[in-house]
């Protein structure tokens, strides 16, 4: 039995030139999908079918790329949800955050909510899929991995811990087909109504170096983050959990 895997892709932007390219993380989602499903991988994009950059994904050896045709500023969320449900997707892979547009990183969460599927953040590797259950490795900071068992269908985001995408080759990119799907266009008012402004870099915490010796510094640089004031909440009610989180956010000045 082959698993029905769908990778979602968007148009990326090169970090130094800002020119369109295949998005780094989405390309990794395609790579992971190809490793999982081979030729049976479906790749899906919601947007403009005339965008030449889409061919960069085809260049990874795909025969076909499905495009839900939408103008700029349309909401991709509902049409993606409908398509995924109708296509009988079992594993949906996507990058963590888009390089263009809103780039909020919210899409996988909203999509999972809409579909009612579990979401895995930072998928690094799929170890096995057997009788409707997948064993996967989730990437945690500092190279750590967490083994998860998840029931199909599920949604997963990949980040830089996922395998490097293969090279996009010109020949397959030219031969591959872009298949258009007509979908209902809904304006994304949250996006079109918003004003975009250049991002300010996030203020950094002052780093107080307490280490006296080189060995200490090495340890500080490599050791696992030890959350000094952190606490593990276990077996608490959702309300109590939410309260604890809110309390922390207020303490940290994130919520005022």
């Amino acid at each position: 039995m082959t698993t029905n895997v769908i990778s979602l892709v968007s148009i990326g932007a090169h970090p130094t030139s800002g020119r369109p390219r295949r998005a780094e993380q989405d390309a990794r989602a395609v790579e992971l999908g190809l490793q999982l499903a081979g030729d049976n991988l479906q790749v899906l994009h919601a947007g403009n079918i005339a965008e030449p950059t889409l061919r960069a994904y085809l260049g990874m050896g795909l025969e076909q790329l499905h495009v839900l045709e939408q103008p700029a500023g349309a909401d991709a969320l509902p049409v993606l949800g409908d398509y995924l449900r109708d296509a009988g997707a079992q594993v949906v892979l996507t990058g963590t955050q888009a390089e263009t547009g809103e780039g909020s990183g919210m899409l996988p969460f909203l999509l999972a909510e809409q579909l009612g599927w579990p979401l895995i953040v930072g998928l690094a590797q799929v170890e096995s899929i057997e009788s409707g259950v997948a064993h996967v490795l989730q990437a945690l900071p500092r190279g750590q991995r967490r083994r998860l068992k998840v029931r199909l269908p599920f949604l997963a985001t990949v980040d830089n811990a996922a395998p490097k995408p293969r090279q996009s080759a010109y020949g397959p990119a030219q031969r591959g087909e872009l298949t258009a799907h007509d979908v209902q266009v809904l304006e994304d008012e949250l996006f079109t109504g918003a004003v975009l402004q250049p991002a300010k870099s996030r203020p950094k915490r002052l780093k107080v170096i307490k280490a006296k010796s080189g060995a200490d510094r090495m340890k500080a640089a490599t050791a696992k983050a030890s959350g000094g004031g952190g606490q593990v909440l276990k077996g608490v009610s959702p309300e109590a959990g939410a309260e604890a989180i809110l309390k922390l956010l207020i303490e940290e000045g994130v919520v005022r």
Binding site: T16, Q167, Y170
Partner: protein, 651 residues
């Protein structure tokens, strides 16, 4: 008895040779079509053979004379033998002529034999060791059977025993020389070689010409293969060219990758292509293997993919495209074309450019430079130089093509030195600034013809907007591509390397130069300036003008050894036993020079990568700039118009 046996032997061998020739021609015809002047080529062939090919062979006087004697002796002997012994024209004059020809051939064969007594490692052994003996058998047998014809000996001299012995000798001779010529023996080189010269894919190379630019792929033709996957994807005259190889190993001796222990041997590569076009395995190959790869494990046929059957991908990616093999090849075989053709398939169809290749190609597409630097930073090196931009001036004498070295801090010193020279000579020049893109050299040599054509067409569009008399660049790779490879896309320019231009400036007396001070100097010829474009003299002329007496390396001029930086080799980075720049630095050290003058950003980077202590590395522009005499400089007249640099916005 011989009178009846000889015609039978001769005509049987000739008949089999014709059959073999037809069979061989059909093998070549498996290749793709190629536009060649068939008749004109054949007519031009004798001259190409006797002039152009002889020029290459004559670099080794011993073998040149040997070959002239053997080949001339053989051709005459064969023709006369057919007349005298085949058709029975027992004319005394013809008899004497045949005797003379066979003696000439025998003398040649003796020298071939002497060379083969203790052959250098570059020569193939196997059937090639038999060849001098076959040549001798042919010449001696025909000498002896012709003695009666010339009337020197009576017709029945020697009786049955000698007659039988001579028949065996003739049989051996004609088998090797006629039959073997078309059925794949060592003499195949004469048959295929002659036709290869006639229908060469770069006919411009003959008559002292030069043709080094890679041939474009027609990307609009959807039916044409993107590069070469199987032997039959080569053009037919490329296949013919492979067949012309004499396995002399001159290419092997010149190849920097082979010397560095990387898995490439140009001779073996060509022989593998012969295996590919005929079908079989490389087990019979009797020369040096690819370093680190055993012989007998690879095989293929015309319809089977080459890579990972016949040849490993690493072999193709080891090449620095330095063209030393092509320069040395007495058969004028085009190794580099074949390698790039096969790379094209790997990159364009398989997406299998090794190591940093994929990243570099992506960077070239997204940022127009291989390093992935923000395009807005292209002119940062000249922030304080007030360089005139062509987009402001619209017209200029000299367009200074900066190249991607603009992003490299070492090369920025060279660029600034050259600007100093240009300013000192009061040249009317300008730069493209942020409008310039990578020339496409690396992309093309990594096999990415699509990205090359994209960059080339955009650069050509930009250049079409302005008027300039010439392009001058410090980068031989940009120089070569602009000069020789943009023409196919309707970009025709007068392009000069900065050494050529500085030599002109010095000739005109536009520069007030002092003398180079201090250390002794040698000069390293960049492949893309020297072998690709024949410019050996101008850099030396500039150095002489600085009062430098160049301590030449043993391998200099057209025999210069590559620095290891061409053809994307530093990007694909195939491991070997040693590094090419280290070997080149050894060449430099041998001269005892304390400084090596270079004229290429790649060479600079590769040679400076050699660990110290080592000779200093300086670009010719730096040497000239250092020797400029300030007092003669014109009174400082600051450029009045402030130059509007395009906003270099970085996101």
């Amino acid at each position: 008895m011989l009178n009846t046996l000889l015609p039978i032997l001769l005509f049987a061998a000739l008949g089999l040779a014709v059959l073999g020739a037809l069979r061989r021609v059909n093998m070549w015809r498996r290749g793709r079509a190629s536009k060649v002047d068939l008749i004109g080529g054949l007519l031009a062939m004798p001259k190409r053979y006797m002039v152009d090919l002889h020029h290459v062979v004559a670099r080794d006087k011993y073998i040149a004379n040997t070959h002239v004697a053997t080949a001339l002796g053989f051709v005459l002997s064969a023709l006369l033998a057919i007349l005298v012994h085949g058709f029975g024209l027992h004319n005394r004059l013809l008899g004497y002529a045949l005797l003379l020809a066979s003696v000439l051939m025998f003398v040649g064969a003796t020298f071939v034999y002497l060379r083969r007594r203790n052959p250098p490692s570059r020569l193939s052994k196997g059937p090639w060791m038999r060849l001098p003996k076959s040549l001798m058998a042919f010449s001696v047998s025909f000498f002896l059977v012709t003695l009666p014809v010339a009337g020197i000996l009576p017709a029945d001299f020697g009786g049955w025993l000698l007659a039988a012995l001579l028949s065996v000798g003739v049989l051996w001779g004609v088998s090797e020389m006629f039959f073997g010529m078309t059925w794949g023996g060592p003499m195949k080189h004469a048959f295929a070689g002659a036709l290869h010269l006639a229908w060469h894919r770069r006919a411009e190379r003959f008559g002292g010409g030069r043709s080094t630019g890679l041939k474009p792929l027609d990307l609009t033709d959807k039916t044409a293969p993107l590069g070469v996957e199987k032997p039959k994807d080569f053009t037919w005259n490329q296949l013919l060219g492979f067949d012309a190889c004499v396995q002399c190993g001159k290419c092997e001796a010149a190849c920097p990758a082979f010397a560095a222990g990387q898995p490439l041997n140009p001779k073996k590569l060509i022989q593998d292509m012969v295996v590919g076009l005929a079908g079989g395995t490389d087990a019979k190959f009797a020369g040096s293997p690819y370093p680190g790869k055993a012989i007998g494990e690879h095989g293929g046929n015309p319809h089977q993919p080459i890579v990972n059957g016949l040849v490993d991908a690493q072999t193709l990616w080891s090449c620095t495209t330095c063209r030393a093999c092509v320069e040395e090849c007495p058969m004028m075989i085009e190794h580099v074309d074949a390698i790039v053709d096969m790379r094209r398939h790997l990159t364009l169809e398989k997406g299998a450019t090794p190591n940093k290749g994929a990243e570099v190609l992506e960077n070239l597409i997204a940022t127009d430079n291989p390093g992935g630097f923000a395009p807005g930073g292209r002119m940062n090196w000249a922030a304080d130089l007030n360089l005139p931009l062509l987009s402001d001036k619209k017209t200029t004498d000299v367009l200074f093509w900066v190249g991607d070295g603009a992003f490299d801090m070492r090369n920025q010193r060279t660029l600034r030195a050259f600007v100093k020279v240009l300013k000192a000579a009061q040249v009317d020049f300008a730069v493209l600034g942020l409008e310039e893109r990578d020339s496409g050299d690396v992309a093309r040599r990594l096999g990415d013809e699509a990205t090359f054509q994209l960059l080339a067409s955009r650069n050509i569009q930009t250049l079409a907007k302005y008027s300039f008399k010439r392009i001058v660049t410090c980068d031989p790779h940009s120089f070569h591509v602009l000069k020789n490879e943009y023409g196919a896309f309707d970009g025709h320019y007068l392009v000069q390397h900065h050494s050529t231009y500085m030599a002109e400036l010095i000739d005109e007396g536009a520069l007030n130069l002092g003398q180079h001070k201090g250390n002794s100097v040698t000069y390293h010829d960049p492949c893309y300036l020297g072998r690709y474009n024949g410019e050996y003299e101008a850099p030396r002329q500039v150095l002489r003008a600085l009062g430098i007496e160049v301590k030449e390396m043993q391998r200099s001029g057209f025999r210069s050894r590559c620095c290891g930086g061409g053809g994307g080799a530093p990007i694909t980075d195939i491991p070997g036993k040693q590094r090419i720049p280290d070997m080149r630095m050894e060449d430099i050290r041998e001269t005892g020079a304390e400084l090596v003058a270079v004229g290429c950003p790649q060479c600079t980077a590769m040679l400076e990568g050699v660990v110290e202590p080592r000779p200093l590395i300086k670009d010719i522009a730096e040497l000239v700039a250092d020797a400029l005499l300030e007092d003669a400089a014109p009174a400082k007249t600051p450029i009045k118009r402030p130059i509007q640099h395009e906003s270099a916005e970085v996101h």
